[in-house]
Assembly symmetry: C2
Protein backbone atom coordinates (compact mmCIF):
# COMPACT_ATOMS: atom_id res chain seq x y z
CA UNK A 1 0.00 0.00 0.00
CA UNK A 2 1.66 3.18 -1.23
CA UNK A 3 0.50 6.80 -0.95
CA UNK A 4 1.54 9.21 -3.72
CA UNK A 5 2.52 12.60 -2.27
CA UNK A 6 2.86 15.79 -4.32
CA UNK A 7 5.67 18.04 -3.03
CA UNK A 8 5.05 20.85 -5.53
CA UNK A 9 2.73 23.78 -6.31
CA UNK A 10 1.86 25.09 -2.85
CA UNK A 11 3.14 27.36 -0.10
CA UNK A 12 3.81 24.38 2.16
CA UNK A 13 7.58 24.44 2.76
CA UNK A 14 9.83 21.45 2.06
CA UNK A 15 10.79 21.55 5.75
CA UNK A 16 7.16 20.79 6.69
CA UNK A 17 7.01 17.81 4.32
CA UNK A 18 10.28 16.62 5.82
CA UNK A 19 8.98 16.77 9.38
CA UNK A 20 5.76 14.98 8.46
CA UNK A 21 7.57 12.25 6.52
CA UNK A 22 9.92 11.25 9.35
CA UNK A 23 9.54 7.52 10.04
CA UNK A 24 7.11 7.05 7.14
CA UNK A 25 9.33 6.23 4.17
CA UNK A 26 8.08 2.80 3.12
CA UNK A 27 4.47 3.88 2.54
CA UNK A 28 5.18 6.76 0.17
CA UNK A 29 6.01 7.63 -3.42
CA UNK A 30 7.08 11.27 -3.59
CA UNK A 31 6.56 13.44 -6.68
CA UNK A 32 8.52 16.61 -7.39
CA UNK A 33 11.47 18.32 -9.01
CA UNK A 34 15.01 17.01 -8.68
CA UNK A 35 15.86 20.00 -6.47
CA UNK A 36 13.12 19.22 -3.98
CA UNK A 37 13.53 15.44 -4.07
CA UNK A 38 17.20 15.64 -3.07
CA UNK A 39 15.95 16.48 0.45
CA UNK A 40 14.30 13.02 0.62
CA UNK A 41 17.08 10.62 -0.42
CA UNK A 42 15.62 7.52 1.28
CA UNK A 43 12.18 7.72 -0.35
CA UNK A 44 10.79 6.08 -3.43
CA UNK A 45 10.14 8.93 -5.86
CA UNK A 46 9.38 10.15 -9.37
CA UNK A 47 11.11 13.22 -10.80
CA UNK A 48 8.48 15.38 -12.52
CA UNK A 49 8.86 18.32 -14.88
CA UNK A 50 6.09 20.91 -14.84
CA UNK A 51 4.40 22.38 -11.77
CA UNK A 52 0.69 23.25 -11.47
CA UNK A 53 0.60 26.77 -10.07
CA UNK A 54 -2.13 28.16 -7.79
CA UNK A 55 -3.35 30.57 -10.47
CA UNK A 56 -3.45 28.01 -13.33
CA UNK A 57 -6.88 27.53 -14.94
CA UNK A 58 -8.00 23.86 -14.67
CA UNK A 59 -8.59 23.57 -18.43
CA UNK A 60 -5.02 24.74 -19.14
CA UNK A 61 -3.69 22.18 -16.65
CA UNK A 62 -5.63 19.39 -18.38
CA UNK A 63 -4.22 20.44 -21.75
CA UNK A 64 -0.63 21.43 -20.97
CA UNK A 65 0.46 19.94 -17.63
CA UNK A 66 0.09 16.19 -17.98
CA UNK A 67 3.77 15.91 -17.00
CA UNK A 68 3.23 17.69 -13.66
CA UNK A 69 3.64 16.10 -10.24
CA UNK A 70 -0.12 16.44 -9.81
CA UNK A 71 -1.04 14.66 -13.04
CA UNK A 72 1.52 11.88 -12.60
CA UNK A 73 0.50 11.34 -8.96
CA UNK A 74 -3.08 10.76 -10.08
CA UNK A 75 -1.87 8.40 -12.81
CA UNK A 76 -0.36 6.25 -10.04
CA UNK A 77 -3.80 5.98 -8.39
CA UNK A 78 -5.44 5.20 -11.72
CA UNK A 79 -2.88 2.44 -12.41
CA UNK A 80 -3.33 1.07 -8.83
CA UNK A 81 0.34 1.74 -8.06
CA UNK A 82 -0.85 3.97 -5.20
CA UNK A 83 -3.98 3.73 -3.01
CA UNK A 84 -4.22 7.48 -2.54
CA UNK A 85 -2.89 10.79 -3.85
CA UNK A 86 -2.23 13.71 -1.51
CA UNK A 87 -1.50 17.27 -2.71
CA UNK A 88 -1.47 20.78 -1.20
CA UNK A 89 -1.86 22.37 -4.65
CA UNK A 90 -4.48 24.14 -6.81
CA UNK A 91 -7.95 22.82 -5.86
CA UNK A 92 -9.63 23.39 -9.22
CA UNK A 93 -6.81 21.60 -11.01
CA UNK A 94 -6.88 18.60 -8.65
CA UNK A 95 -10.65 18.30 -9.09
CA UNK A 96 -10.43 18.53 -12.90
CA UNK A 97 -7.52 16.08 -13.16
CA UNK A 98 -9.16 13.61 -10.72
CA UNK A 99 -12.34 13.71 -12.75
CA UNK A 100 -10.54 13.24 -16.05
CA UNK A 101 -8.15 10.50 -14.92
CA UNK A 102 -10.16 8.48 -12.37
CA UNK A 103 -13.70 8.97 -13.69
CA UNK A 104 -16.94 9.38 -11.74
CA UNK A 105 -17.91 7.07 -8.91
CA UNK A 106 -21.27 5.65 -9.97
CA UNK A 107 -24.10 6.55 -9.45
CA UNK A 108 -22.89 10.10 -8.71
CA UNK A 109 -22.71 12.63 -11.54
CA UNK A 110 -20.77 15.42 -9.79
CA UNK A 111 -17.73 15.51 -7.61
CA UNK A 112 -17.47 17.53 -4.43
CA UNK A 113 -14.73 18.52 -2.00
CA UNK A 114 -15.37 17.20 1.51
CA UNK A 115 -13.62 18.73 4.53
CA UNK A 116 -13.84 17.77 8.20
CA UNK A 117 -14.19 20.42 10.88
CA UNK A 118 -14.18 20.10 14.67
CA UNK A 119 -17.37 20.87 16.62
CA UNK A 120 -18.33 20.83 20.31
CA UNK A 121 -18.96 17.08 19.99
CA UNK A 122 -17.57 15.23 16.94
CA UNK A 123 -15.92 15.99 13.57
CA UNK A 124 -18.41 17.17 10.96
CA UNK A 125 -18.13 16.59 7.21
CA UNK A 126 -18.84 19.65 5.07
CA UNK A 127 -19.40 19.26 1.32
CA UNK A 128 -18.75 21.05 -1.08
CA UNK A 129 -15.93 23.37 -0.02
CA UNK A 130 -14.83 24.44 -3.48
CA UNK A 131 -15.11 21.93 -6.32
CA UNK A 132 -18.27 23.33 -7.98
CA UNK A 133 -19.24 26.99 -7.91
CA UNK A 134 -22.38 26.39 -9.96
CA UNK A 135 -24.96 23.95 -8.65
CA UNK A 136 -28.57 22.84 -8.60
CA UNK A 137 -30.74 21.04 -6.04
CA UNK A 138 -29.74 17.62 -7.41
CA UNK A 139 -26.05 18.42 -6.89
CA UNK A 140 -26.72 19.33 -3.26
CA UNK A 141 -28.65 16.08 -2.81
CA UNK A 142 -25.79 14.04 -4.34
CA UNK A 143 -23.31 15.81 -2.07
CA UNK A 144 -25.35 14.68 0.94
CA UNK A 145 -25.34 11.06 -0.20
CA UNK A 146 -21.60 11.13 -1.02
CA UNK A 147 -20.61 12.61 2.32
CA UNK A 148 -22.95 10.26 4.22
CA UNK A 149 -21.09 7.32 2.66
CA UNK A 150 -17.73 8.60 3.99
CA UNK A 151 -19.08 9.48 7.44
CA UNK A 152 -20.68 6.04 7.79
CA UNK A 153 -17.34 4.39 7.22
CA UNK A 154 -15.18 6.84 9.19
CA UNK A 155 -17.37 6.95 12.30
CA UNK A 156 -19.30 3.65 12.13
CA UNK A 157 -22.68 5.39 11.81
CA UNK A 158 -25.91 3.67 10.74
CA UNK A 159 -27.76 6.72 9.44
CA UNK A 160 -25.68 9.92 9.41
CA UNK A 161 -27.58 13.12 10.19
CA UNK A 162 -27.54 15.54 7.26
CA UNK A 163 -28.41 19.27 7.35
CA UNK A 164 -28.48 21.88 4.60
CA UNK A 165 -26.53 25.12 5.21
CA UNK A 166 -29.06 27.93 4.83
CA UNK A 167 -30.00 31.39 6.04
CA UNK A 168 -32.99 30.26 8.12
CA UNK A 169 -34.69 27.12 9.40
CA UNK A 170 -37.94 27.05 7.45
CA UNK A 171 -38.28 24.94 4.27
CA UNK A 172 -39.05 28.14 2.33
CA UNK A 173 -35.73 29.85 3.25
CA UNK A 174 -32.78 30.31 0.89
CA UNK A 175 -32.55 30.37 -2.87
CA UNK A 176 -34.63 28.13 -5.12
CA UNK A 177 -31.80 25.59 -5.14
CA UNK A 178 -31.92 25.23 -1.34
CA UNK A 179 -35.73 25.07 -1.32
CA UNK A 180 -35.77 22.31 -3.94
CA UNK A 181 -32.92 20.42 -2.24
CA UNK A 182 -34.91 20.57 1.02
CA UNK A 183 -37.73 18.72 -0.75
CA UNK A 184 -35.37 16.09 -2.23
CA UNK A 185 -33.76 15.43 1.15
CA UNK A 186 -37.15 15.23 2.89
CA UNK A 187 -38.18 12.08 1.00
CA UNK A 188 -37.78 8.99 3.16
CA UNK A 189 -34.66 6.88 2.61
CA UNK A 190 -32.59 4.20 4.32
CA UNK A 191 -29.15 5.83 4.16
CA UNK A 192 -29.36 9.03 6.19
CA UNK A 193 -31.59 11.17 8.39
CA UNK A 194 -32.33 14.68 7.08
CA UNK A 195 -32.67 17.12 9.96
CA UNK A 196 -33.51 20.20 7.85
CA UNK A 197 -31.80 23.55 7.39
CA UNK A 198 -29.05 24.73 9.69
CA UNK A 199 -27.47 28.18 10.15
CA UNK A 200 -23.78 28.93 10.62
CA UNK A 201 -24.15 29.74 14.32
CA UNK A 202 -25.52 26.26 15.08
CA UNK A 203 -23.16 24.16 12.96
CA UNK A 204 -20.48 23.91 15.66
CA UNK A 205 -22.86 22.46 18.27
CA UNK A 206 -22.03 19.00 16.90
CA UNK A 207 -25.63 17.81 16.41
CA UNK A 208 -25.15 16.74 12.76
CA UNK A 209 -22.74 14.53 10.80
CA UNK A 210 -22.91 16.10 7.33
CA UNK A 211 -23.30 19.75 6.31
CA UNK A 212 -24.37 20.19 2.68
CA UNK A 213 -23.70 23.37 0.71
CA UNK A 214 -22.34 24.59 -2.63
CA UNK A 215 -18.65 25.12 -3.48
CA UNK A 216 -18.77 28.91 -3.23
CA UNK A 217 -20.64 29.11 0.09
CA UNK A 218 -18.73 26.14 1.52
CA UNK A 219 -15.37 27.64 0.65
CA UNK A 220 -16.40 30.91 2.27
CA UNK A 221 -17.73 29.03 5.30
CA UNK A 222 -14.43 27.17 5.81
CA UNK A 223 -12.13 30.13 5.23
CA UNK A 224 -14.27 32.41 7.41
CA UNK A 225 -14.14 29.84 10.20
CA UNK A 226 -10.35 29.83 9.85
CA UNK A 227 -10.23 33.65 9.84
CA UNK A 228 -12.37 34.02 12.96
CA UNK A 229 -10.42 31.31 14.78
CA UNK A 230 -7.09 33.02 14.00
CA UNK A 231 -8.51 36.43 14.94
CA UNK A 232 -9.75 35.22 18.32
CA UNK A 233 -6.58 33.23 18.91
CA UNK A 234 -4.52 36.38 18.33
CA UNK A 235 -6.66 38.28 20.86
CA UNK A 236 -7.13 35.69 23.57
CA UNK A 237 -4.11 33.35 23.14
CA UNK A 238 -5.12 29.70 23.14
CA UNK A 239 -3.97 26.58 21.26
CA UNK A 240 -6.06 26.40 18.12
CA UNK A 241 -7.12 22.97 16.86
CA UNK A 242 -6.20 22.17 13.23
CA UNK A 243 -9.24 23.08 11.15
CA UNK A 244 -8.90 21.66 7.69
CA UNK A 245 -6.45 18.85 7.18
CA UNK A 246 -7.13 16.71 4.22
CA UNK A 247 -10.25 17.51 2.23
CA UNK A 248 -11.41 14.52 0.18
CA UNK A 249 -12.26 14.77 -3.53
CA UNK A 250 -15.56 12.85 -3.35
CA UNK A 251 -17.29 11.25 -6.29
CA UNK A 252 -14.32 9.90 -8.25
CA UNK A 253 -13.03 6.31 -8.51
CA UNK A 254 -10.06 6.72 -6.21
CA UNK A 255 -8.87 8.36 -3.03
CA UNK A 256 -7.61 11.91 -3.54
CA UNK A 257 -6.86 14.20 -0.60
CA UNK A 258 -6.36 17.94 -0.98
CA UNK A 259 -4.47 19.60 1.89
CA UNK A 260 -4.36 23.27 2.77
CA UNK A 261 -2.05 25.34 0.54
CA UNK A 262 -0.13 26.38 3.64
CA UNK A 263 -0.20 23.09 5.53
CA UNK A 264 1.48 22.57 8.86
CA UNK A 265 3.15 19.31 9.90
CA UNK A 266 0.09 18.20 11.88
CA UNK A 267 -2.18 18.87 8.87
CA UNK A 268 -0.07 16.56 6.70
CA UNK A 269 0.06 13.89 9.43
CA UNK A 270 -3.75 14.09 9.68
CA UNK A 271 -4.02 13.64 5.90
CA UNK A 272 -1.67 10.63 5.98
CA UNK A 273 -3.83 8.98 8.66
CA UNK A 274 -6.97 9.72 6.67
CA UNK A 275 -5.45 8.21 3.53
CA UNK A 276 -4.44 5.02 5.37
CA UNK A 277 -7.85 4.72 7.04
CA UNK A 278 -9.97 5.42 3.95
CA UNK A 279 -7.92 3.42 1.46
CA UNK A 280 -9.79 0.30 2.63
CA UNK A 281 -13.04 1.44 1.00
CA UNK A 282 -11.58 1.98 -2.48
CA UNK B 1 -35.13 63.71 17.48
CA UNK B 2 -37.03 60.49 18.19
CA UNK B 3 -36.13 56.88 17.48
CA UNK B 4 -38.97 54.43 16.77
CA UNK B 5 -38.33 51.07 18.47
CA UNK B 6 -40.15 47.86 17.62
CA UNK B 7 -40.72 45.66 20.71
CA UNK B 8 -42.37 42.79 18.81
CA UNK B 9 -41.65 39.85 16.53
CA UNK B 10 -38.31 38.59 17.83
CA UNK B 11 -36.77 36.37 20.50
CA UNK B 12 -35.34 39.39 22.30
CA UNK B 13 -37.03 39.37 25.73
CA UNK B 14 -38.94 42.38 27.09
CA UNK B 15 -36.46 42.36 30.01
CA UNK B 16 -33.61 43.08 27.58
CA UNK B 17 -35.48 46.02 26.03
CA UNK B 18 -36.16 47.28 29.55
CA UNK B 19 -32.50 47.18 30.54
CA UNK B 20 -31.40 48.91 27.34
CA UNK B 21 -34.05 51.62 27.65
CA UNK B 22 -33.12 52.70 31.19
CA UNK B 23 -32.40 56.46 31.20
CA UNK B 24 -33.33 56.88 27.53
CA UNK B 25 -37.06 57.63 27.61
CA UNK B 26 -37.24 61.03 25.94
CA UNK B 27 -35.60 59.91 22.68
CA UNK B 28 -37.92 57.00 21.94
CA UNK B 29 -41.32 56.07 20.56
CA UNK B 30 -42.04 52.43 21.40
CA UNK B 31 -44.25 50.21 19.25
CA UNK B 32 -45.93 47.06 20.50
CA UNK B 33 -48.94 45.33 21.99
CA UNK B 34 -50.74 46.70 25.05
CA UNK B 35 -49.42 43.74 27.08
CA UNK B 36 -45.78 44.54 26.26
CA UNK B 37 -46.12 48.32 26.48
CA UNK B 38 -47.43 48.18 30.04
CA UNK B 39 -43.82 47.40 31.07
CA UNK B 40 -42.75 50.84 29.75
CA UNK B 41 -45.25 53.27 31.40
CA UNK B 42 -43.04 56.38 31.12
CA UNK B 43 -42.38 56.10 27.37
CA UNK B 44 -44.10 57.69 24.42
CA UNK B 45 -45.70 54.77 22.55
CA UNK B 46 -48.11 53.49 19.93
CA UNK B 47 -50.24 50.41 20.58
CA UNK B 48 -50.11 48.20 17.48
CA UNK B 49 -52.24 45.22 16.49
CA UNK B 50 -50.59 42.62 14.30
CA UNK B 51 -47.10 41.16 14.71
CA UNK B 52 -44.71 40.27 11.89
CA UNK B 53 -43.48 36.76 12.69
CA UNK B 54 -40.03 35.38 11.80
CA UNK B 55 -41.49 32.92 9.31
CA UNK B 56 -43.79 35.42 7.52
CA UNK B 57 -43.12 35.85 3.79
CA UNK B 58 -42.29 39.51 2.96
CA UNK B 59 -45.01 39.74 0.30
CA UNK B 60 -47.66 38.60 2.83
CA UNK B 61 -46.41 41.19 5.31
CA UNK B 62 -46.73 43.95 2.68
CA UNK B 63 -50.27 42.86 1.90
CA UNK B 64 -51.70 41.93 5.29
CA UNK B 65 -49.62 43.47 8.09
CA UNK B 66 -49.73 47.21 7.51
CA UNK B 67 -51.04 47.55 11.07
CA UNK B 68 -48.00 45.82 12.58
CA UNK B 69 -45.46 47.47 14.87
CA UNK B 70 -42.94 47.08 12.04
CA UNK B 71 -45.06 48.81 9.40
CA UNK B 72 -46.20 51.63 11.69
CA UNK B 73 -42.65 52.23 12.95
CA UNK B 74 -41.49 52.72 9.37
CA UNK B 75 -44.45 55.06 8.75
CA UNK B 76 -43.05 57.26 11.53
CA UNK B 77 -39.73 57.52 9.67
CA UNK B 78 -41.53 58.22 6.39
CA UNK B 79 -43.57 61.01 8.01
CA UNK B 80 -40.41 62.44 9.70
CA UNK B 81 -41.88 61.81 13.14
CA UNK B 82 -38.83 59.62 13.85
CA UNK B 83 -35.25 59.86 12.57
CA UNK B 84 -34.70 56.12 12.72
CA UNK B 85 -36.50 52.81 13.12
CA UNK B 86 -34.96 49.92 15.05
CA UNK B 87 -36.32 46.35 15.02
CA UNK B 88 -35.07 42.88 15.98
CA UNK B 89 -37.66 41.23 13.71
CA UNK B 90 -37.90 39.39 10.36
CA UNK B 91 -35.14 40.69 8.06
CA UNK B 92 -36.90 40.05 4.76
CA UNK B 93 -40.01 41.83 5.99
CA UNK B 94 -38.07 44.88 7.23
CA UNK B 95 -36.27 45.13 3.89
CA UNK B 96 -39.49 44.85 1.89
CA UNK B 97 -41.41 47.32 4.06
CA UNK B 98 -38.49 49.82 4.09
CA UNK B 99 -38.32 49.66 0.32
CA UNK B 100 -42.05 50.09 -0.12
CA UNK B 101 -42.53 52.88 2.43
CA UNK B 102 -39.29 54.89 2.21
CA UNK B 103 -38.33 54.34 -1.42
CA UNK B 104 -34.88 53.92 -2.95
CA UNK B 105 -32.03 56.28 -2.14
CA UNK B 106 -30.98 57.64 -5.53
CA UNK B 107 -28.91 56.74 -7.53
CA UNK B 108 -28.97 53.22 -6.05
CA UNK B 109 -31.35 50.64 -7.48
CA UNK B 110 -31.00 47.90 -4.85
CA UNK B 111 -30.97 47.89 -1.10
CA UNK B 112 -28.50 45.91 0.99
CA UNK B 113 -28.09 44.96 4.62
CA UNK B 114 -24.87 46.35 6.11
CA UNK B 115 -23.39 44.90 9.30
CA UNK B 116 -20.28 45.92 11.21
CA UNK B 117 -17.85 43.30 12.50
CA UNK B 118 -14.77 43.70 14.69
CA UNK B 119 -11.32 42.93 13.22
CA UNK B 120 -7.74 43.03 14.55
CA UNK B 121 -7.69 46.77 13.79
CA UNK B 122 -11.00 48.59 13.15
CA UNK B 123 -14.70 47.78 12.56
CA UNK B 124 -15.39 46.52 9.06
CA UNK B 125 -18.63 47.04 7.11
CA UNK B 126 -19.95 43.93 5.36
CA UNK B 127 -22.69 44.23 2.74
CA UNK B 128 -25.00 42.43 1.91
CA UNK B 129 -25.74 40.14 4.88
CA UNK B 130 -29.19 39.03 3.80
CA UNK B 131 -31.37 41.48 1.88
CA UNK B 132 -30.89 40.04 -1.64
CA UNK B 133 -30.25 36.36 -2.30
CA UNK B 134 -30.12 36.90 -6.08
CA UNK B 135 -27.58 39.34 -7.46
CA UNK B 136 -25.48 40.42 -10.42
CA UNK B 137 -22.16 42.25 -10.74
CA UNK B 138 -23.87 45.66 -10.77
CA UNK B 139 -25.58 44.88 -7.45
CA UNK B 140 -22.21 44.04 -5.89
CA UNK B 141 -20.78 47.29 -7.27
CA UNK B 142 -23.68 49.32 -5.85
CA UNK B 143 -23.23 47.61 -2.49
CA UNK B 144 -19.64 48.78 -2.43
CA UNK B 145 -20.60 52.38 -3.13
CA UNK B 146 -23.42 52.33 -0.56
CA UNK B 147 -21.24 50.91 2.20
CA UNK B 148 -18.37 53.28 1.35
CA UNK B 149 -20.75 56.19 1.93
CA UNK B 150 -21.58 54.99 5.45
CA UNK B 151 -17.97 54.14 6.36
CA UNK B 152 -16.79 57.57 5.18
CA UNK B 153 -19.20 59.24 7.55
CA UNK B 154 -18.81 56.86 10.50
CA UNK B 155 -15.00 56.79 10.49
CA UNK B 156 -14.06 60.06 8.75
CA UNK B 157 -12.37 58.29 5.83
CA UNK B 158 -11.40 59.96 2.55
CA UNK B 159 -11.37 56.86 0.35
CA UNK B 160 -12.56 53.69 2.08
CA UNK B 161 -10.80 50.48 1.03
CA UNK B 162 -13.18 48.01 -0.58
CA UNK B 163 -12.57 44.28 -1.17
CA UNK B 164 -14.75 41.61 -2.77
CA UNK B 165 -15.35 38.41 -0.75
CA UNK B 166 -14.17 35.58 -2.98
CA UNK B 167 -12.61 32.13 -3.00
CA UNK B 168 -9.20 33.28 -4.27
CA UNK B 169 -7.19 36.42 -4.96
CA UNK B 170 -6.92 36.43 -8.75
CA UNK B 171 -9.36 38.46 -10.89
CA UNK B 172 -10.45 35.22 -12.58
CA UNK B 173 -11.59 33.57 -9.32
CA UNK B 174 -15.21 33.09 -8.26
CA UNK B 175 -18.42 32.96 -10.24
CA UNK B 176 -19.09 35.13 -13.28
CA UNK B 177 -20.77 37.70 -11.01
CA UNK B 178 -17.60 38.13 -8.93
CA UNK B 179 -15.37 38.26 -12.03
CA UNK B 180 -17.53 40.98 -13.61
CA UNK B 181 -17.79 42.91 -10.36
CA UNK B 182 -13.99 42.81 -10.10
CA UNK B 183 -13.83 44.59 -13.46
CA UNK B 184 -16.43 47.22 -12.43
CA UNK B 185 -14.60 47.96 -9.18
CA UNK B 186 -11.24 48.17 -10.95
CA UNK B 187 -12.22 51.28 -12.95
CA UNK B 188 -10.72 54.39 -11.44
CA UNK B 189 -12.98 56.52 -9.22
CA UNK B 190 -12.81 59.25 -6.60
CA UNK B 191 -14.91 57.63 -3.85
CA UNK B 192 -13.09 54.48 -2.78
CA UNK B 193 -9.98 52.36 -3.33
CA UNK B 194 -10.59 48.84 -4.61
CA UNK B 195 -8.02 46.44 -3.18
CA UNK B 196 -9.23 43.30 -5.03
CA UNK B 197 -10.54 39.96 -3.84
CA UNK B 198 -10.23 38.86 -0.24
CA UNK B 199 -10.73 35.43 1.36
CA UNK B 200 -12.44 34.71 4.67
CA UNK B 201 -9.20 33.97 6.51
CA UNK B 202 -7.84 37.45 5.76
CA UNK B 203 -10.96 39.54 6.43
CA UNK B 204 -10.28 39.85 10.16
CA UNK B 205 -6.80 41.32 9.70
CA UNK B 206 -8.42 44.77 9.54
CA UNK B 207 -6.79 45.92 6.29
CA UNK B 208 -10.05 46.92 4.57
CA UNK B 209 -13.07 49.12 5.38
CA UNK B 210 -15.78 47.50 3.26
CA UNK B 211 -16.35 43.82 2.41
CA UNK B 212 -18.70 43.30 -0.53
CA UNK B 213 -20.67 40.10 -1.06
CA UNK B 214 -24.18 38.82 -1.85
CA UNK B 215 -26.97 38.32 0.68
CA UNK B 216 -26.67 34.53 0.80
CA UNK B 217 -22.88 34.37 1.19
CA UNK B 218 -22.85 37.39 3.51
CA UNK B 219 -25.46 35.90 5.79
CA UNK B 220 -23.52 32.64 5.94
CA UNK B 221 -20.29 34.58 6.56
CA UNK B 222 -21.79 36.46 9.51
CA UNK B 223 -23.55 33.51 11.12
CA UNK B 224 -20.52 31.26 10.67
CA UNK B 225 -18.33 33.88 12.33
CA UNK B 226 -20.79 33.91 15.22
CA UNK B 227 -20.83 30.10 15.39
CA UNK B 228 -17.05 29.76 15.42
CA UNK B 229 -16.70 32.50 18.02
CA UNK B 230 -19.22 30.82 20.32
CA UNK B 231 -17.61 27.42 19.78
CA UNK B 232 -14.14 28.67 20.67
CA UNK B 233 -15.48 30.70 23.57
CA UNK B 234 -17.12 27.56 24.99
CA UNK B 235 -13.80 25.67 24.71
CA UNK B 236 -11.32 28.33 25.83
CA UNK B 237 -13.44 30.66 28.02
CA UNK B 238 -12.91 34.32 27.13
CA UNK B 239 -15.14 37.40 26.94
CA UNK B 240 -16.52 37.52 23.43
CA UNK B 241 -16.99 40.91 21.77
CA UNK B 242 -20.49 41.65 20.43
CA UNK B 243 -20.44 40.72 16.75
CA UNK B 244 -23.50 42.05 15.04
CA UNK B 245 -25.37 44.87 16.72
CA UNK B 246 -27.45 46.95 14.40
CA UNK B 247 -27.24 46.08 10.71
CA UNK B 248 -28.26 49.04 8.53
CA UNK B 249 -30.80 48.71 5.71
CA UNK B 250 -28.76 50.60 3.08
CA UNK B 251 -30.18 52.17 -0.05
CA UNK B 252 -33.53 53.51 1.22
CA UNK B 253 -34.52 57.08 2.08
CA UNK B 254 -34.33 56.76 5.81
CA UNK B 255 -32.41 55.17 8.65
CA UNK B 256 -33.52 51.63 9.46
CA UNK B 257 -31.53 49.39 11.79
CA UNK B 258 -32.11 45.66 12.07
CA UNK B 259 -30.82 44.08 15.28
CA UNK B 260 -30.13 40.41 15.94
CA UNK B 261 -33.27 38.34 16.59
CA UNK B 262 -31.83 37.37 19.97
CA UNK B 263 -30.29 40.69 20.94
CA UNK B 264 -28.54 41.29 24.23
CA UNK B 265 -28.67 44.57 26.13
CA UNK B 266 -25.31 45.70 24.75
CA UNK B 267 -26.47 44.94 21.18
CA UNK B 268 -29.46 47.24 21.61
CA UNK B 269 -27.33 49.96 23.22
CA UNK B 270 -24.94 49.73 20.27
CA UNK B 271 -27.85 50.11 17.85
CA UNK B 272 -29.19 53.15 19.78
CA UNK B 273 -25.77 54.82 19.52
CA UNK B 274 -25.57 54.01 15.82
CA UNK B 275 -29.03 55.48 15.22
CA UNK B 276 -28.14 58.71 17.04
CA UNK B 277 -24.82 59.01 15.22
CA UNK B 278 -26.10 58.23 11.71
CA UNK B 279 -29.34 60.21 11.92
CA UNK B 280 -27.35 63.33 11.01
CA UNK B 281 -26.79 62.12 7.44
CA UNK B 282 -30.47 61.56 6.66
Amino acid sequence: MKIALDLMGSETPTKTFKQALQKQSKHFILLGSKAVLKHFPTFEHIVTKSVVKMGDAPKDVLRHKQDSSMAIGLDLVKEKKAVAFISCGNTGAIAALSNSKLGKLKPFSRLGLLAHIPTKKKPLAIIDVGANLYYDAKTLFEYGKLAARFQKYLFQLKKPKIALLNIGHEATKGKQEQQKAYQLFSKKNAYFTFVGNIEGQDVFEGTIDVLVTDGFSGNIFLKTAEGVANFLQSQYKFDLPSLAYGAIICGVNGLVIKCHGKSKTQDLLGAFEKAKHLSAIF
